[in-house]
Symmetry: C2
């Protein structure tokens, strides 16, 4: 079956990690689509949740501040949801290496709890899980397709991969309607930029917004694909409307790819800051994957999804948002 | 570097799951090689630990009854060990589906704790982890090589796979001397046969020893490779003597492969019991992988390992052991 976006109107929708960057952006979209929206977020330190993210819809959503590692609490929340967007988790590669057991809890235990809770209490819910391109490790061939071998090079990649497998297994074994999207570098309004634990985009933005130089590790020639958050939200919206997606893994990605240097130069142009190349820190080099861009044609073929936003315009919008809401994202 | 077996003489050796089937068999061998042996076992219900397994060496080993999910306890035990055989874990496919979170704790958390404890307290230890052919899921091509795609079809396979990745990651990132062996069907003296949760071999043996008919699910035409426990012990011994193994995954396997029907017929012949075919239970069919046998040439090429035991002789030895020690393995 294929549905259109009106399917969401009047439906009960749960977003885990709903106060985070992508979760809150999705929540705003879901409210616009007429869904009855519940947000679940543990608001853990450094995981990206921010009450300011949902200011525009604060009165139109129900919020549970609960930790998904608590099975009982989660069981209550998943009941009677028509759609579940599972975005909660630890996403910092560095933190996953510093605190691997915490990462294991936030990614593996939380996800196992979710699929178990759905199996027991809500087996008909439509579920999508946001995984990461990090599961591939160092690409052997570009663009990376979904059947590329997986060899994660950090704890986060391993735990996200296990979480993917739980979703696929519960689809295969118990018919859960579960889909996995592997996200690449996502940017846009509401990105967590306060701490530097969630990737270079947040770090670059913070440096720009603070009027400092942008620090690029190495020569900045690593190629990446970048998705503006609205394009990722659209992918999430579409993923649950196509029954063909269930039980499968799909890459997101972008038509144009850029070097980190180009990305930094675009930011610099938009903000009048400068940038400089600095040596790659050893701990970061160990978990760097070199060039990456993904092939998203499998997902496009089923859902028609095409990323729309041009990098220059997307970064301009992002900067405009943060300049207008600086106080909510950059505290002293 | 390559060492010979005399390397173990006088060395401190830790065996996790040391009171289990393979762990205790390895412990007996290690004592014979002159190692200073420490066994760690939580003695959890249905995980295979049995005090009777180590009767021949009870006074020659040090034993800690601790749970590897407890990081502090584990940290104390790993210190100053030269070699660590990580065999502890949940191995029942069925139990992993019934209690997925327990499986996650016993396989993922325990293993994460081990590599973390080694990184912090004993980064020079030689480590081997016993994984399972179950990580491959349903074979696409036989014999299965180590680069066969992995798609576990039960929770146990997923968690063992994550545990493998932790070992490889800690090798890559922190130079831990870690090797992964993917075991196939192992049989022999000390196999857990009291409950029917650890595979068909234990079930068949229990049926034989109780003088009951052997029940074969389906037509019994699934092909498997079988390793006698002494051959697996020898593989473990060799794995730590070859530096080339560290950071890699290796299959075990056998030269000859047999159907489950042949396996049951051999047992029946040796014990004068009969067998019958019965329909495949639905829950077991869902996690059945069809035919499987592995290519173990990569491990042989490095270590010279060759499984020695013929199935008929191996089963005869196994039955003789259980007939002599029935009271320790089959309680009412």
């Amino acid at each position: 079956m294929v549905y259109d976006e009106s399917w969401y109107s009047g439906r009960s929708v749960l977003i885990t990690g709903g106060l985070g960057f992508i979760g809150s952006s999705l929540a705003i979209r879901m409210v616009a689509l007429g869904a009855k929206v519940t947000l679940l977020d543990a608001m853990l330190k450094e995981c990206g949740g921010n009450w300011k993210n949902i200011e525009p819809i604060r009165e139109q959503v129900r919020i549970f501040q609960d930790d998904m590692r608590n099975f009982q609490a989660l069981s209550l929340v998943v009941k009677e949801q028509d759609a579940i967007f599972h975005l909660a988790g630890q996403v910092s590669h560095g933190n996953s290496m510093r605190e691997p057991l915490t990462d294991l809890g936030l990614n593996c235990v939380s996800t196992m709890n979710l699929v178990e809770a759905c199996r027991i209490h809500n087996p008909k819910a439509r579920i999508v899980f946001t995984s990461t391109r990090q599961v591939y490790g160092v690409p052997q061939k570009l663009p990376v397709k979904e059947n590329h071998p997986v060899l994660p090079i950090d704890v986060n990649g391993i735990n996200k991969l296990a979480a993917e497998y739980y979703h696929l297994l519960y689809h295969r074994t118990y018919n859960l309607k579960s889909t996995v999207l592997r996200l690449t570098n996502t940017y846009g309004p509401r990105l967590q930029i306060q701490n530097d634990r969630q990737g270079f985009i947040g770090v670059f933005l913070k440096q720009c917004l603070s009027g400092r130089e942008i620090d690029i590790f190495g020569d900045g020639m690593q190629v990446r694909d970048f998705n503006y958050v609205d394009d990722v939200v659209q992918a999430l919206v579409l993923s649950l409307l196509h029954d063909q997606c269930f039980g499968h893994i799909f890459n997101l990605g972008s038509r144009d790819r850029y070097t980190l240097l180009h990305f930094a130069q675009t930011l610099a142009t938009l903000t009048d800051v400068t940038y400089k190349l600095i040596p790659f820190p050893v701990d970061k080099k160990l978990i760097d994957i070199g060039n990456y861009y993904g092939d998203y044609s499998a997902f496009s073929d089923i859902t028609g999804w095409q990323p729309q936003m041009d990098l220059h315009e997307g970064l301009a919008k992002t900067l405009a948002y943060f300049q207008a809401h600086r106080i909510n994202y950059l505290t002293a």
